[in-house]
Structure formats: structure tokens, C-alpha cells
């Protein structure tokens, strides 16, 4: 994407709700800042629950999770924001997240401060984080290999049986093995 919405220093730089006080998003979201944990910002509008599914967060482990859905955003038009308390994401989790929310920014929050802010990197390949949906794929048996996928522009593709798994969040969630 190009255009004015890609400019640094715009509203998106401040609207994760855990940085400068009194931003527009703070008012719109009515969500308090978190002390420790992760803020995932710039998730495509409507995919917050998918992201939680991919990360294996269903509330059963007691995490405090706040979600803003379809929040107006300069960069994405509508975006979702997730705040997960007392949880930092692993490399594998970031890899899978990059597949459904390539524009996401991850803020690691420690003692109310954003201690690390970074974009997800779209890897060329992901291994061991998604299982192949093809029941006849060699990785479906007991062979000593991890399901491995090449990352396409849209979706992922099993390097063994070459089945393509769509970019649509639901199918990735269904086959995600992390969490």
C-alpha cells in the first residue's frame, strides 16, 4: 500500500492506547492501558478473534484480553487491536500472525511502557506451526518431518504435497498447531 496513510507520525503511530495519553483511539476504545503484556495493533478489521484462535487464546488459561474491533484507522481503514496481559509472543506465534495480519505491529509492554515495538516479518517459510489439511499428505502420518509451508502472497503452500491453504483466517486457524 502506498499513499498518505503510510506516512510515519500519523495517527496510527499513537493509537495503540499504550503510548501517549489522550489519543483518539483511547477515547474510542475506552480500553485501559496494560501493565505487562502484548498489544497487537493494525490487525485487519474483523480478524481479532481469528488472531486469538491462531494464538490458541480462548480465555481458559485466565489471560486478561481486551479487543477493539473495526476501529477507524488511517492505514487500514478499519483495524482491530488486541491487548493480551502478561503474555509475550513467541517466534512461531509471530510467524503465524504474519500470515493473517501482515501489517500488524507488536508492542511489548513492560511496566506500562512500550519496551519494544516491531512489525511482524513475513517469513519465506513456516515450519511446525500449521498442519497440512490434506489427509493424504506424507506429513499426516508418523514420518519424522514437520509440516512446512512456503509463504505465498496469499496463503501458504505445503512444501511436500503442495496443497495451498488459503489466506482466509478461518482455514489457517483450523490448522494452526501453536498455542
Amino acid at each position: 500500500m502506498s499513499g498518505p496513510e503510510g506516512n510515519a507520525g500519523g495517527r496510527d503511530e499513537r493509537d495503540d492506547g499504550n503510548e501517549a495519553t489522550e489519543t483518539d483511539a483511547d477515547h474510542e476504545l475506552r480500553v485501559t492501558k496494560i501493565r505487562n503484556g502484548t498489544v497487537i495493533d493494525h490487525v485487519p478489521g474483523g480478524l481479532a478473534l481469528t488472531v486469538l484462535g491462531v494464538l490458541g487464546i480462548d480465555g481458559s488459561a485466565g489471560e486478561v484480553v481486551s479487543i477493539g474491533m473495526n476501529v477507524p484507522s488511517d492505514r487500514l481503514d478499519r483495524k482491530d487491536v488486541l491487548k493480551i496481559e502478561n503474555r509475550e509472543l513467541t517466534r512461531d506465534e509471530l510467524d503465524v500472525l504474519s500470515l493473517i495480519a501482515p501489517a500488524a505491529t507488536i508492542n511489548i509492554v513492560r511496566e506500562y511502557d512500550v519496551s519494544g515495538k516491531h512489525r511482524v516479518d513475513r517469513p519465506e517459510q513456516v515450519s511446525g506451526v500449521i498442519s497440512c489439511p490434506n489427509p493424504d499428505c506424507i506429513t499426516a502420518g508418523n514420518e519424522p518431518v514437520s509440516p512446512t509451508f512456503d509463504v505465498l502472497e496469499e496463503g501458504v503452500r505445503c512444501v511436500y504435497c503442495e496443497t495451498i491453504l488459503g489466506a482466509e483466517g478461518a482455514s489457517l486457524t483450523e490448522h494452526a498447531d501453536i498455542g
Binding site: 493424504d136 506424507i138 506429513t139 502420518g141 519424522p144 518431518v145 503452500r157 512444501v159 511436500y160 496443497t163
Partner: protein
Amino acid sequence: MGQHLISAKQLSRADIERVLDHAAALERDSPTDRRSGTLLGLCFFEPSTRTRLSFEAAIKRLGGDALDMGAIEASSVTKGETLADTVRVLAGYVDALVLRHPSEGAARMASEFVSVPLINAGDGAGQHPTQTLLDLYTMRENVGLDGLSIGIMGDLKYGRTVHSLSLALTNFDTTQHLVSPESLRLPRGVRYDLEAAGASVQEHTDLSTVLPDLDVLYVTRIQRERFPDDAEYRAIAGEYRIDAATLEDAKENLIVMHPLPRVEEIAADVDETPHAKYFEQAKNGVAVRMALLDLALDGGGIFAADESGSLADWNEGADA
């Protein structure tokens, strides 16, 4: 490693021509001792007649010998051994391995565990690249490989010979007419690759509209087990069957091909027409596999001697 043949997607035009040229030379010279003392391992986890026997004939005609794993019922596979372990052990006994397996991606995975060249002889509904090479050899001998209109008919979804052929044809100036019932169209993965290769492909549900334009008609079998009931199978399979009368509308020099075994999709009366090339095609399997094995066994890696470098990169290039 750069030494395995896993998918037709690996094959460039130069790769294909090199194998076909070598096959033609071997057929002319019929050598008997080029690969004397060489052992080829045959690992067939699925029944096979033509492919297994033609590989065995090929290595024997090159002066080598074959070590056949035999039926899986009598092997350690029934004890639950993984494919990875099986091929790793067999690779220690032989100079090259040929693998057929019911799971897609089996050859790719197995190749990660062996240090000898591994040739995919069919992985489930995946790929069958050596069949493609003999298909192309047969086409080249009869009608050339460029400026062709090629019809591919039958089960395009599960037919691995079709997946490989269709991808390999993107190296040549061809238009592919894919004729199948709606439920047996090419799978998404193959479509993706065809699109990426910029292939000229048209899909049809009825042969009659395109038959008069075709130079090649490649027929495949529609399997009964792909349909929920017998009546549906019969109704659909019946629409994709040809006989001598069907071919009256075809070009005089149309060739009809089939990977065999055929059941009812080509009537026996086609055998007597000049169109029928499927038995010649099966026979070509030996020369083409001789060429492939001879290149595979050539020193430092399957096709490593190629000056352009493209063949040396077969395996690494597969993901590109």
C-alpha cells in the same frame, strides 16, 4: 543435493530436451554395459506393473541390476516402519532409488533422508514426472513439441500423470484444453503453478467442441472410487469415453495417448486406427528411463554435468 527428480515443476525445457535426446541416442545404440555393476532400488508402496517393470528393464538394459523391495505386505512397513527409515536403509544398499508411494509429498520427504539419487515414480495424487518424460518423448517423435493444441481428458483432479504433464508442457508453445467433469477439474495447486507459468489453458466439460482442433488427445481413466455411487460413476465416465467413431471429427494426424492401464475409456476399435499411440508410448518408457537413470548415475549428482547449470539445480530450483 541437486540430484533428485521429484516433480515436473523442476523441469526446464533444456532439462527435458537433454533427457529426450539422450533417450533417442540410447535407443539407437542399444548399449548393454554402460552401467555394469550398478544397483537400482525399487521401492513400490503401491501396485505397479508398467512403471516398475520398465525401470527394471531400463537398468538391466544399461548393464546394471535392480533390487526390488517387493510387496509391502512382506516388508517391515507392516511393522510400522516409517518411510524415512525404509529409504534411509535401502539407500545404503543401492546406487539410486525409485519410489512410488500412496502419500502426496512422499518423494520430496524421502529425498531429504537419502544420499543417492531418488526418482519419484508417483506420489499419491501428486506427481509422476518420469511418465511425463516418456509422454513428451512420444509426442516429440510423432508431432513435435511446439505449436500444438493438446487435449487432456478424464480425471484431472487425482490424475498425477496429468499434473506432471500439464506443468511440463508450459515449457513449450502449446495450448492445453482440459476436458473433465466439473468435479474432477485440476486441483488448486496445479492451477496456481500453471497460472504462474503463464500457461495457455482452456477448460471444457465436453470433448466434442475442441476435438477438431487437437493435435494430441491424452486420455486418462476416471476411477470408480472417486464417486459416491455406481450410477453416478457410470453416467459421468460414459461421457469421457472415446471410440473410433468419436475420432471421425478429429484431425487426420491426431495422436491419442494414455498412461495406461485403460479400462473402458478408449474402445478397442481405436487401437486399429493410426491415431493410437499408447502402446508405443508405454514402450518408450524403457528408453526414457534408461536415459534418466544414466544421467542420474553420472558421478556427482543426477544431472550435474549440464553446462547451463539448470539441471544441476533441479532440486534446489524446485521451490523457485
